[in-house]
Symmetry: C2
Subunit: 163 residues, 2 copies
Amino acid sequence: MVHVHGTLTHGKDSHAELHDHASADAVTSALALLHELGERVTAPRRAVLDALAAEHAHATAEQLAAALPDVHRATVYRTVERLAELGIATSMHTGGGTAYHLAVTPTGHEHLHARCRACDRIVVLPADSLQTAVERLGRARLFRLEPDHSELVGLCEDCASTD
Amino acid sequence: MVHVHGTLTHGKDSHAELHDHASADAVTSALALLHELGERVTAPRRAVLDALAAEHAHATAEQLAAALPDVHRATVYRTVERLAELGIATSMHTGGGTAYHLAVTPTGHEHLHARCRACDRIVVLPADSLQTAVERLGRARLFRLEPDHSELVGLCEDCASTD
DNA sequence: ACGCTACTGCGACTGAGTCGCATCGCACAA
DNA sequence: TTGTGCGATGCGACTCAGTCGCAGTAGCGT
């Protein structure tokens, strides 16, 4: 439950909220990037970015909208879509809709997400897991694979062992 | 009333239809497999498998339903879901819903599908494109990657060159 | 502080996907 | 071949994610 209540990081963000600093930093840099790109920094957008940073896994627009009762559903949908267009967030098609997560990380540590088709959990994988495939396909002029946007599916170790 | 009239690979497929023999064979073996698994072979299922084989790319339940006006929408949805459960078809989450394709191929030539995020086309890739990743993740006990079910996303060569 | 215009809230609308139930017909046995 | 049981289908209403157009609001540059 994100619940970024009325005092939406009002003016100055000196007061660290309930979420950890890493998330706060990510939101800060995302907001800065937003501004640099000529986009307006509004309260709803701050709220969406905050919620996005608070979610450790991917979040769907629907989930975000539920977590942000003060932001209109349509606005959440438009916002995440715009964020994805700008590259501030990345999207991934999962069974229950399109899921988003922040692409901007101050530390810059990238990672991939895979979904277990049995328990539906999201597993974090090393960023370079698909490196060989990317290079091979690129060299063969077949496809410019973008691991961030891909949805890897399979079985997590837990589910695989209980087969 | 289903009424998928006579031209539906009735008994013998001596009359070459609009689709090639490979597709017909795939349908035949899929039907056989269906029977072996204790499932009933019905006219609607034949029709869905036929349509599935005729589609060279992935097809969504919606597309299949549109292509099969005599089969009820709900039946198409239930059928493809069941086929996926049985492993006769594989599913993939794409932007416009869940897409399916036949997993049973008589020739056994497997391949992967990737989606271009720009033109939304499906590109066919060599089956072993992710082999390295599969092995690496498996050896590291991180994830049992199943390339068939994964949705690879990126840019096809056409769109990449017009960037 | 002002004005432009991008962004938001709103609520109706669309269409994919689901569900319960009555009926049908496949598969197997006699 | 006919009979029978139960799984599959047709049906149509229902749910709900996602979209759209419009009017009002508020961010940002001046």
